[in-house]
Amino acid sequence: MSNNEMARMKFYCDDQRCIECNGCSVACAEAHELPTGVSRRKVITLNEGVEGKEFSTSVACMHCTDAPCEQVCPVDCFYIREDGIVLHDKDVCIGCGYCLYACPFGAPQFPRDGAFGTKGAMDKCTMCAGGPLETNSAHERELYGQNRIAEGKVPMCAAMCSTKALIVGSADEVAKIYRTRIAAKGKGVQSAPYGWSKAYSN
C-alpha cells in the first residue's frame, strides 16, 4: 500500500472461472478442522438449467461494510478489524441466530452441541484471521481455526482455488485483477461481481 491507510480486504469469486469443484469448501473445512455439518464456504449454482444464465460461485461470509450481523447482535460479540475483516467472539456469543437473519449470504452457522440440541456459538468464515484470543494460540485454533493472515498467508480457499476464480486481498489489488481480466477478455458485458452490491455498497 502506498498510503498509511489499512487495506480493505475483500473476497471476489469470478463466476466465469468457477468450475464448481468445491475445492474451496473442502480446503476450508480441512484447514480449520470444522465439525461435521458446518461448512464456512459453499459453492452454489444459480439459474440452474437456464441456458446461458447458469453460473456457479463460491459463497462465505463476505466481511461486509457496515456488517448487518454486527448491527443486530444483542450481545455485541462482533468486531470489525481495521482491514475490514468481520470477526466475532465465541465466548460472548449466545447462539441466538439473529446474525443469520440479518446476513444477506446465509453465512452464520450453528453447530448443535448443547444438551437438547441447543444452538452452540455461531461459526463463520474468519477470512483465516482467527478470533479475539491470543494469535496462533491453541485455544484460538480450536475455536476459530487457523490464523493464516497473521502468518502473512493467503486464506486457504483462495490459496488452493484451481482456476483462481476465488481471489482475496486488498480492495485495490482485487480491483486491479478484476479489471485486467475484463480487459483481456475484450468482449461481452461484465456485471458487478456477485454479492458485491450487498456486501460492499457503502
Binding site: 444483542p74 450481545v75 449466545i94 441466530g97 443469520l100 437473519y101 446465509g106
Partner: protein
C-alpha cells in the same frame, strides 16, 4: 422393556441425523435463502429485520421497562390505590383448577420476562455463559407455559368475550382515574382483564410458535412452508419480528396486571390464591357480575 428403550433412543438419533442432513438453510436451499440475487423478487425482510433490531427493538423494550412502571408510580402517588374491606363477605371466583393453571402460567412468566429482557440487553451483561443460561431458562419456562396456555384459554373464554360493558369501562378507564367508589360497568372480568387475557393466551401462543421457530432454526415442516410460502430464513425473520412485537405487548400488559393485583387494588392478589374476592370489591369493580349473582340468589 430394554429393547423399546434402545429402539426409541436409536430412532431419536436417526431423527436428529436426518435433521442435520436435510438442512433447510445451508445446503441446496441456500440459494433460496440468500437474499437478493438477480431475478428472484425478495421480500426485503432481511433489511427490515436488520433495521428494526439494530435501531428499535431494544429501545422500545427499554421504554416499556421504564415507562410503564413510571406511569403506574405516578398513578399510585396521585390517585392512589383502591382499598376495599377485607372483613366483609367473600365471593367465590376462582376454582382450584383456575388457580393452578394461573399459577403455573404466572411462574412461567416470572421466568420468561426477566430472561427475555436479559437477552434483549445481553451486551450489558457481557453475553457469554450467563446470558446463554438465561436463554436456556427462557426455553424451559416456555414448556410449562405451553402446557397451561390452552387450558387457560378454554377455561375463561366464556367470560372473556367482549360486551357493551367493555366500551363503557374503556370510556372511564375502569374508574381508575378517580378516587370515588362508584360501581364500574364490568362482568366477572373487566375490559382491561379481557385485553390481558387475549394478549396472554393468543399472543402467548404466537410467542411460543415464533420462539420455537427460532429455537429449532433448521427444520423442515411441509405444512409451514406451504402455508407461509416463505424461505426458511424469511420464516425466521418473520418469527423474530413477531416475537419482539408481541413481546412488547405481553410485557406491557403483564406489568399492568401485576400493578393492578398487587398495588392498585389493595389485597386483590389474594383472590387468585384463596379463590375468594371481597364482596365490596366485586360490588364496585364488577358491578354487572354482582347484580347477576344477586339476581341468581348466589349472594
Amino acid at each position: 422393556m430394554k429393547k423399546y428403550l434402545f429402539l426409541s433412543i436409536a430412532s431419536l438419533f436417526l431423527a436428529s441425523a436426518a435433521f442435520a442432513a436435510d438442512s433447510q438453510i445451508w445446503d441446496a436451499m441456500r440459494i433460496q435463502n440468500i437474499y437478493g440475487y438477480g431475478q428472484v423478487e425478495s421480500l426485503g425482510l432481511g433489511p427490515l429485520f436488520t433495521m428494526l433490531q439494530a435501531n428499535y427493538f431494544a429501545q422500545i423494550f427499554l421504554a416499556v421497562l421504564i415507562g410503564v412502571p413510571a406511569v403506574f408510580l405516578l398513578h399510585y402517588l396521585v390517585i392512589g390505590p383502591k382499598v376495599f374491606s377485607h372483613d366483609g363477605k367473600k365471593i367465590y371466583a376462582f376454582s382450584i383448577f383456575n388457580r393452578i393453571v394461573h399459577q403455573v402460567a404466572a411462574i412461567s412468566f416470572i421466568v420468561l420476562i426477566p430472561t427475555g429482557f436479559i437477552m434483549t440487553f445481553g451486551s450489558y451483561f457481557g453475553g457469554g455463559e450467563f446470558v446463554r443460561m438465561m436463554k436456556d431458562l427462557h426455553g424451559i419456562a416456555t414448556i410449562s407455559f405451553g402446557i397451561v396456555v390452552i387450558p387457560m384459554f378454554l377455561m375463561w373464554i366464556k367470560d372473556m368475550l367482549p360486551n357493551f360493558d367493555d366500551i363503557k369501562w374503556m370510556m372511564i378507564v375502569g374508574g381508575y382515574l378517580s378516587k370515588e367508589k362508584k360501581p364500574v360497568p364490568a362482568g366477572k372480568f373487566n375490559a382491561g382483564q379481557k385485553s390481558w387475557y387475549w394478549i396472554a393466551t393468543l399472543g402467548g401462543m404466537v410467542m411460543i410458535l415464533t420462539g420455537a421457530t427460532m429455537y429449532f432454526l433448521d427444520f423442515d415442516i411441509e405444512m409451514v412452508r406451504s402455508m407461509t410460502g416463505l424461505s426458511q430464513i424469511d420464516l425466521l425473520r418473520v418469527a423474530a419480528i413477531l416475537h419482539a412485537f408481541f413481546g412488547m405487548l405481553v410485557v406491557a400488559l403483564f406489568f399492568t396486571h401485576v400493578y393492578m393485583a398487587v398495588f392498585a387494588i389493595k389485597g386483590a392478589i389474594h383472590s387468585i390464591i384463596t379463590g375468594y374476592k371481597e364482596e365490596e370489591e366485586v360490588e364496585i369493580l364488577h358491578s354487572s357480575w354482582y347484580k347477576k349473582l344477586k339476581k341468581e340468589g348466589k349472594i
